[in-house]
Point group: C2
Chain length 391, copies 2
């Protein structure tokens, strides 16, 4: 029999895109758990613990109701739109790239009237523009992409939330934290966030396949008070809330079969984040330190950055512009040949001008792996080689 202690994942290229990311052996071993009944006492406890730990990771223990549903991170947008927005209601999207566009698309699909405040590429939405927009219209919901994976921009979520609460206390705030949870601090209760949308395969370091959502008491109150029926079956919180409550209370209840292995893997991943050293607070500091180190080193190699300011740069990923004269083909393929997988650009206007490196999960936190130095050493070598070829 293989054991959690003896299991080692197969040799593979180092995966350092902005998600999915490298998983620890113990998380992958948990993903290979024997099948269990989704209503067995043992699994109910594993599931319930995931919900409790999600509250801790997001500092949501006062007001947060977690939902954990089989699906991609994208499904969290549907959960937000289908449950909280009624047809014809006004929503405001603070857009820092591709994922802002998509959240707006999703809201419109559910009948919302969407106003978009679009930052310049690499920039952030100006506070004054936000305040102005909030004065002009009453919005049911404002969405913030915490880290837009397409640009690596980190939105000042706490500050935006403060401004929204000041100008329009009833307005709900949804934070798309798919590329932020686990690598950026999120203070759900303190910031007064109403929905956090996330997924396991980025800062949480677990395989993809779950939509993880935290909803505030206020958000659930808005759901209760809505007039139009929820227009989706699978993402209806009215169907899922009793399930989540039952699992947390240690009781079986069925709506749709949860991905039992993946939930078991998430349980191990969340435990590693909460119980192992470093502490949650130290973890966020490590992410900041690693991010600074990566960005400083890339800068020395002649790279620029998509985010216009270090203050608004993600700590779990870096969107680096190629140095003068270097093309995508000089970097992406040569790195893959060296068994290092980074991602190309995603923002359509500048896709060929930059590449994206993820430094989330074990890659950033488990120094003994040496991932970060391996990435930087190889990026330097392929850049040097490309320059030598040109000379």
């Amino acid at each position: 029999m293989s054991s959690a202690q003896s299991f080692q994942q197969a040799p593979h290229k180092l995966l350092v895109i902005p998600g999915p990311v490298e998983c620890s052996d113990s998380i992958l071993y948990a993903n290979a758990s024997p099948s269990v009944s989704h209503v067995s006492p043992a699994f109910i406890s594993v599931f319930g613990d995931c919900l409790r730990m999600l509250r801790k990771v997001l500092y949501a223990e006062k007001t947060g109701q977690p939902f954990m549903i089989a699906g991609s991170g994208t499904l969290g947008w549907d959960q937000t739109a289908a449950n909280l927005v009624e047809p014809g209601e006004e929503c405001l999207v603070l857009n820092h790239g591709y994922f802002g566009d998509s959240f707006a698309d999703c809201l419109e699909t559910y009948g919302a009237k969407v106003t978009v405040l679009k930052a310049a590429i690499g920039g952030i939405v100006d506070e004054k523009e936000l305040t102005k927009a909030l004065k002009e219209k009453k919005f049911k919901l404002v969405t913030i992409t915490h880290v837009d994976t397409s640009t690596g921009v980190l939105a000042p979520a706490a500050r935006y939330a403060e401004l929204i609460h000041q100008a329009s206390p009833d307005t709900l705030i949804a934070l798309d934290a798919v590329c932020a949870a686990g690598s950026e601090e999120i203070r759900f209760d303190d910031w007064g966030i109403d929905v956090v949308v996330t997924a396991p395969q980025k800062g949480l370091g677990v395989p993809p396949g779950l939509s993880l959502v935290m909803a505030s008491k206020k958000a659930l109150g808005v759901l209760n008070a809505r007039k139009a029926p929820v227009s989706s079956y699978y993402v209806s919180w009215r169907r899922w809330l009793p399930i989540m409550e039952a699992y947390e209370a240690g009781q079986p209840k069925y709506f749709a079969t949860p991905p039992v292995q993946l939930v078991t893997a998430l349980n191990v991943g969340l435990k590693q984040i909460l119980d192992d050293s470093p502490s949650l607070q130290d973890r966020f500091q490590i992410h900041k330190d690693v991010s600074k180190y990566v960005k400083d080193e890339l800068e020395k190699m002649g790279c620029g950055f998509v985010p216009l300011s270090r203050d608004h740069s993600a700590n779990g990923m870096t969107a680096a512009r190629y140095p003068q004269g270097i093309k995508a083909a000089d970097v992406l393929g040569p790195l893959a040949e060296r068994d290092i997988v980074v991602a190309g650009g995603l923002h359509k206007d500048i896709a060929s001008e930059y590449f994206r490196v993820g430094h989330m999960g074990v890659t950033a936190v488990d120094k003994s792996r040496g991932d970060v130095d391996k990435i930087l050493k190889n990026v330097k070598e392929v850049l040097d080689k490309a320059r030598a070829k040109q000379a």
Copy 2:
């Protein structure tokens, strides 16, 4: 390093509920694959092969367009309802238990007007009633639960499809095969089915977390011709079809991050079904033989069955009524103490009167495991013990 050859899952209770089911070691090992990029050439090929193999397993190579999306099996109902039914359109649900009720709920959520033909518990919808209903109204869609997991009833799907085609050739036919694919023969092309909804964790023997759907050319034509916009974002085939086509063509394309490990596990599972002995045809025969054996033996022990006829009993599971004087508590707990997990009743009117045994995947097909005899031996012993206590 652990290898596919050396990996063995942890010791565990034998899981023989009607899904999730036992997985082979090699499938679980695939579920512990290192993370890969969802747009890497290697993963694109794994994903594309899954789609091609799904067509083969469902005999859908002429007209089938597969969709593979992170989610529970339930999400397939949303896919069907959101893409194919416009608000106010008439649907007919052939109801053989709990899952028929739920499919009807889902259709109504998306605005359908639903007529339900409800069979007596354990019975099937009468052919004459179906023909009569088809004459009375023009239905956009008829749904058939192939195996209703709550009752173990196997619907005569081919015959129903024939009657529907005769009476109403334009009507779409959706087959809920969550508890059927892999253990019951489904002839998508030949029967003229328009949607098969399924999931990996039952007859396909793979961990849960994917919604697997096969749609006909006719169904995609209906989608193209629809007037109302698709009212859901995540389950919109308009968003997923280009993704599925790209993956099959070996090209990267992004809408939402697929669960890369689970897709890798499904790939191994489908290969085992298609390439290993027994052949697909032999596999269905084995399921019939195992099912007959299980039912014959349980009958000898004094059990009855929820399905009123052997002809309409599922081959991948058995819904067995407790013998006279025996209660759920005499069977479920004592079996669990013997490390055998079966399921209680699910149909609300008779939940306390029966139990459900799954004999899908490796439990039925891999005789070397001895699962079936282990189940039967232990059921006999707990029944004997309960009787002895009464005497």
